[in-house]
Symmetry: C2
Subunit: 312 residues, 2 copies
């Protein structure tokens, strides 16, 4: 199992990435890690943190794509950047997964250009985990990649989210809810009205009907589907709740779970290889969790299961 | 000033409505209150709570529209219901405002059928106040009346919300933000992309650009505009935060402000008379606050200002 990691992406790289790698190896993570970035910076850090040379392969990258660069332009102008090299190694089959906490746009553009969507999938998607009040975890998608959607897109997100929930979150027969503004069929905006019958007729999922904003944090649906506009607003609002709970010194085990660093990163679902996009503010725990997530996606053959679902 | 109150609407009516009236009169609220409902139930409660007969006028209503009835059908089949009579008295000019914590759909349908939109307004809207982390208050609209919107609708909501923020919340030159998924112009879904230039060119408002989900609770924009789908999801998510903070015994002055009972009810903005729709779970404090809100809408001539804005 070969997992690639962009060592230059994120505000605290490469140091925090190296610390995450150390944690991963300490818990005997089985993957060989391909570390892509500036050898001059990475080498000494690996030594300092006593990373065994046998567990990693350093791939030198001359260039870095900054957080604020224009994604398409940056990828074109910087073929020697860690992100561009990462996707090259991923697409050519040398690596099995690729992780970066760098420029999100460049990661998305790189993935969509260098990898294909899984056959039958119209629109790859990004998701977030949602901490449920009862201690469980749900998944919400799309959270921003697809600002405008067609009904069939939501229907496909439901399949991708269900497989993610069962393989990664360990939820058996995950319940799928359509995020909507009203409980009964026929309620909602034009998109939700049209998506409902598709979801209800979808044999790959366990559709439980509409869920409302008040149900997002409750134990009602495990997989919650919506277009990326609403999903992104919810994600960023949820992230801000954690910041607020810190600033107001609200001591709550529940709101502690809104620390999205805990969940590592966001996988891009629907492309042929695992691609995980981390927060710019990722620290060691995030890098560790992204490595774990990539490993789990490979071990459970999540992508093979997605391929199968869309074949039939 | 004649303010009408549906005495039969809400889970705890008419008792909690009477208690709210008592609080309103105790603070010397100047309005004459028209109390619409079952005289047999209301009369004894008014006596018991020593409501002076000179401050109120009881209007008997034979019928009640239940919380779960189909709005249009119920209004048609129950012309003697408190909601139907309320709108009749409002439209005929006997009352200046109408409040109910009853069937929300019936209140909306009743208002839209019996009152006209203010000239020039395409789509009346409902809003919610949003407690800001810094202690301030913002207004978010639309929160569910208009699930699908055109760019010009958002532009009109911005004007209505700005006038509401200045007249009712006392915010001078309120900052208007377009809720979106990205900061720069050109980001977002098709609707937001098209709404941005309209808002930027609107001389009636102080547009500050896009705001994101993370900015909703921060002191960034006072008036936050979006279509009713996203707005409703946010509203119900925010309401659920208060319930969660209670259940988890989270002691926080900030989350206490997510008790939407505190704000009373939601005004329907864009029609020719003040109409306020309360939560089904309204108790005395909600009724008090809805009476105060109706009074303030009349005192500040909010609707006159809306009319003026849309004339020019």
């Amino acid at each position: 199992m070969n997992i690639g990691l962009d060592m230059m992406g994120g505000d605290f790289s490469p140091l925090e990435a190296v610390k995450g790698i150390q944690l991963y190896l300490r818990e005997a993570g089985p993957a060989t890690l391909w570390l892509i970035g500036d050898e001059g910076q990475i080498g000494p850090l690996l030594q300092e943190h006593r990373i065994p040379a046998a567990s990693v392969r350093v791939v030198h990258a001359d260039q870095i794509i900054d957080m604020n660069e224009h994604p398409t332009r940056a990828l074109k102008e910087k073929p020697q950047s860690s992100i561009a090299i990462g996707f090259h190694l991923l697409a050519s089959g040398k690596m099995d997964a690729f992780i970066s906490a760098g420029n999100t746009g460049a990661m998305l553009v790189g993935a969509l250009y260098s990898l294909k969507p899984i056959e039958g999938i119209h629109r790859p998607t990004i998701s977030t985990v949602i901490p449920k009040e009862n201690g469980g975890t749900g998944v919400l998608l799309d959270v921003g990649l697809n600002a405008d959607c067609k009904p069939e897109n939501l229907n496909q997100f439901a399949i991708l989210g269900s497989l993610y929930a069962s393989c990664i979150l360990g939820i058996e027969e995950p319940r799928v809810g359509l995020l909507n503004i009203g409980e009964e069929e026929g309620k909602g905006n034009i998109l939700a009205q049209a998506a409902y019958p598709l979801l209800a007729a979808n044999p790959h999922i366990r559709f439980i009907g509409n869920i409302e904003g008040r149900d997002l944090l409750l134990d009602k649906a495990d997989v919650m589907v919506c277009e990326g506009f609403t999903g992104n607003i919810i994600l960023k609002l949820a992230e801000s709740l954690f910041d607020i709970s810190l600033r107001h010194r609200i001591e709550s085990e529940y709101f502690d779970r809104f620390d999205f660093e805990y969940y590592g990163g966001t996988p891009l679902l629907g492309v042929t290889k695992p691609v995980i996009i981390g927060h710019g503010i990722s620290r060691e725990r995030s890098f560790l969790n992204m490595l774990r997530l990539a490993q789990k996606m490979l071990e459970t053959d999540l992508l093979g299961k997605m391929r199968e679902s869309f074949l039939s």
